[in-house]
């Protein structure tokens, strides 16, 4: 099957299409800075959208739950072993990705007889120098870094649209409540604008599963949100937002 280079390239191309199709309905996860650190959020059809990885590292994910879990545990193992053998300050996303899971995922993706990872990851970190950093890891091992925030979404159009808005919004100056509110609004605008665009171009492509409003999303799924806060006195900067904080957000959104 792979006796000619073309066959291999064709197989890889087919693999890209397969994975993208599988991820297409994945709910976005948004990561943005705020005035005390980083905020991650996403609606979770199944529990498990936003996780704590290490003292200063958090992760958001979309894709197949089994693959998300496998990569999450791999990151946890690597981070804790490194933190134990050296120091918590030596555990950085850059090292975990560049020398850890990114090459392994790339290799897995290019071994076309093995099942690919159906997953996209968003990682956030408060660096030892107190910078707020974001990373996006693709299913093929390709990763990018961001400072203004980033997003993962199964639909590339949605992802690009939300990402443009993140770049144009001064999230790093916002307090948590405002950053949370604006990120939710951004989620809604990104999905609705793309849906309207798609349905006006191709009526038959209209995705009936896409939630057009935040209200409907809240009725359908729980919102998972967490922060990495530089202001905490605890060793671990991660904190999942309390039900009260999510409730206050819902009230504010309902009144808007």
């Amino acid at each position: 099957m792979f006796e000619e280079p073309f066959r291999w390239m064709e197989a890889i191309s087919t693999r890209h299409s397969y994975v993208r199709e599988k991820l297409r309905k994945g709910q976005p996860v948004i990561g943005v800075p705020y005035d005390e650190g980083a905020l991650l959020l996403g609606f979770a059809p199944q529990p498990g959208k936003v996780f704590e990885v290490y003292d200063r590292i958090a992760m958001g994910a979309l894709g197949h739950p089994a693959d998300v879990e496998r990569l999450r545990m791999t990151l946890l193992d690597m981070a804790h072993l490194e933190g134990f053998n050296r120091s918590a300050e030596d555990v950085t996303i850059g090292r975990l990705l560049q020398f850890g899971i990114a090459p392994a995922i790339k290799q897995n993706f290019e071994e076309v007889m093995r099942a690919p990872y159906l997953v996209q990851l968003l990682l956030a970190e408060i660096s030892p120098r107190d910078e707020t950093l974001f990373y996006r890891l693709n299913y093929d091992g390709y990763w990018e870094s961001f400072t203004k925030g980033c997003v993962i979404a199964g639909d590339t159009q949605v992802m690009n649209r939300i990402e443009k808005e993140i770049d144009a919004t001064p999230f790093a100056t916002y307090p948590l409540e405002r950053a949370l509110y604006e990120a939710c609004r951004l989620w809604e605008r990104g999905l609705r604008a793309t849906e309207e665009e798609t349905s006006s171009n191709h009526e038959s492509d209209k995705d009936e599963d896409a939630p057009p409003t935040l209200k409907e999303a809240f009725e359908r799924w729980p919102l998972e949100a967490a922060v990495l806060s530089r202001k905490t006195t605890r060793k671990s900067l991660y904190r999942a937002l309390a039900p009260g904080e999510i409730g206050a957000l819902k009230t504010r959104l309902a009144g808007a």
Binding site: F51, E52, L71, D77, H80, L81, G100, I101, R234
Partner: protein, 264 residues
């Protein structure tokens, strides 16, 4: 690297072992070299007070008759609600504290729930059991106190251990280390016949008593270090409540020292 063919129970110590780590070092058979002196000796204590538990310790590390270090922190944070006070060989004790700390955090993050108080107490017991060989050879004995706050029941908990790993939960007070025999009787006396039972005392009263107990131990045990206010050197005192652990600052202890140690 990403192939994971075994189930993960969330045990960091098992993960360490799979990575080639071992807590105990192979020691050649025969008697240990008696000329080789390990830094050890201490006084650490813990007791229940009105708001939670208080854990305190002196700062001295000795090797035989030599004072090796006078700013040793023997009360070590394990997680947001747990502290371990160490007596014995510091190298092994610090290593156990690091394993324990990573173990609790790894469990919480991987299993997405807190480890139970019973599980935390057992985890230290397991490490001590793994270390029995070193303890029996005289080069790695550790006698710790583990204090934590059980969020499920809303109650604090104190346990002490023997060298083999047996765990003993105490309802009032405990102390360990070479200076502990000097103060255990005082603790019992204070609890039974003092102005009020230990568990009825305020944080300030509890901290005052802890300071006085450590000063007493330092008076009679050469391996327990006393405070030296002129050098800003004080014992370590921490409390655990429903809000987590908190170490008293040197400034707080300095104020307390002035009013509690000198007869007014």
């Amino acid at each position: 690297m990403i192939s994971r063919d075994t189930l993960q129970p969330g045990d960091f110590f098992e993960l360490l072992k799979r990575s080639g780590y071992r807590l105990d070092s192979p020691v050649p058979a025969g008697q240990p070299d008696s000329r080789f002196k390990m830094p050890e000796a201490t006084t650490v204590l813990a007791f229940h007070y009105r708001g939670g538990v208080i854990v305190a310790g002196d700062r001295r590390a000795t090797a035989g008759n030599s004072i090796m270090y006078d700013r040793c922190d023997k009360v070590i944070p394990i997680d947001d609600y747990s502290l371990m006070a160490i007596a014995g060989v510091p190298a092994t004790a610090f290593e156990m504290a690091r394993i324990l700390s990573h173990n609790f955090e790894y469990y919480r993050r991987s299993q997405m729930q807190l480890m139970s108080t019973e599980g935390k107490i057992r985890a230290l017991s397991k490490l001590l059991k793994e270390n029995v060989g070193m303890a029996l050879q005289g080069v790695g004995a550790v006698s710790p106190i583990f204090a934590t706050f059980d969020l499920a029941t809303g109650k604090p908990s104190i346990s002490f251990y023997d060298l083999l790993g047996a765990q003993f939960k105490v309802l009032t007070h405990t102390a360990t280390g070479s200076g502990s025999p000097m103060i255990r009787g005082i603790l019992e006396h204070e609890n039974l016949w003092g102005s009020q039972a230990l568990e009825a005392r305020s944080e300030e009263e509890a901290a005052t008593l802890a300071l006085r107990l450590l000063a007493t131990a330092a008076q009679f045990d050469s391996a327990t270090g006393g405070a030296r206010p002129e050098e800003n050197l004080f014992p370590v005192i921490a409390v655990i409540t429903g809000q987590g652990y908190r170490f008293l600052t040197d400034e707080e202890i300095a104020v307390l020292y002035k009013t509690s140690i000198t007869r007014g």
